[in-house]
Symmetry: C3
Subunit: 151 residues, 3 copies
């Protein structure tokens, strides 16, 4: 599964599918590229050595699962707050909880090394337990899998 998008709703969908598949006994690998990297960022600022542009990029992008916006009807964060409120009332796991569940269930979370380089995101900025890997590593998992999605 490739997670390209950094939208809250798409990230939710990807983890719900991944956790469902893991619960059914499948091996699941999620490969995070481009905006998808933001899903895996820690929510605090991490001291790193970056160029000015990397620092700017880092500041403009959402820091972690709880900061992502909706792909539509975000309305400056209002739509996202509404969705989160409903999720809480209906006892749906939050995105951070889904990520934890995924890690507990043995879902492999792989951050695309090329995207990390491009966006100036360093390993210390990502949550624990995330591997780094290239396109070749994604493709070899994809070849073996029988369900492949680009989200």
């Amino acid at each position: 599964m490739v997670v390209f998008s950094g939208d809250f709703d798409r990230a939710m969908a990807s983890f719900i599918i991944a956790n469902g598949a893991a619960a059914m006994g499948s091996e699941v690998t999620m490969f995070f590229t481009f905006w998808g990297l933001n899903v895996l960022r820690k929510d605090e600022n991490v001291e790193t050595d970056k160029t000015f542009i990397e620092r700017m990029f880092g500041r403009m992008m959402p820091r972690g699962a709880e900061k992502l916006g909706l792909s539509r009807m975000n309305m400056g964060g209002l739509g996202q707050k509404m969705i989160k409120g409903i999720m809480k009332k209906k006892n749906v796991s939050s995105l951070s909880e889904l990520i934890e569940q995924a890690q507990d269930a043995g879902v492999r979370l792989v951050a695309c090394s090329m995207s990390m380089d491009l966006m100036g995101i360093q390993k210390e900025e990502l949550i624990d337990g995330v591997e780094e890997g290239g396109v070749a590593s994604y493709l070899s998992s994809a070849e073996e899998g029988n369900v492949n999605l680009f989200i």
Copy 2:
């Protein structure tokens, strides 16, 4: 096939692929989640018992196939009108016609029960012939299929 998006153009693409595959003799299941549910809504208002927030959400989201916007160059609906005009002139089936064709060809349309719950969409609001199902139901179809897409 997972239809996550509620954009007119992506919905068109998903039904064109689904109908093509059905015509070639494949079994097709389309699983509608999040914004994709809007594709299956009836275009009239249906009397339902909802909370205030659910009612608001329902009113803000497009009601059915003919109300969806383009994912880009929508320009307040103008782009979408242009595309529809061209489609009519070129005798391309409208989205509602494509949905009907899909149902006639035996394509299974499944609405994600968790998304329906989250967005407060009830079964009576969806067009006839749509099943309800969970992630597990999607995954078991996906495991069997040899073409899986996330649109």
Copy 3:
């Protein structure tokens, strides 16, 4: 692989995956529909016989790989310039170079004939070496492939 999107970042991702797969010895077919067609357009204006609406559409859509915008944080082209600057500094191939590499590696580039008709894009406007094909042609490649993505 279906390339539906005409965003710079998604187009990059699709060619990086395609070229990676080709390098690992797989046969790769990329099928370009809707906005994805813009990725294959030549960057100069081509003399064609079009209706007024087709001409307007053609003018409003980006002409070729170097004109595409980012799916988010495009900021009127600034975000895209920043990304390109970083790519150059890090010696990442540009999108046009990736397309050339794909063609050299034998990746088949197929333009969806129905989308070309709808958007009024003619074969002369696309870069050399692109085939035209319908949904059936896509589906028969997809059935054979073991990795299918919709980007």
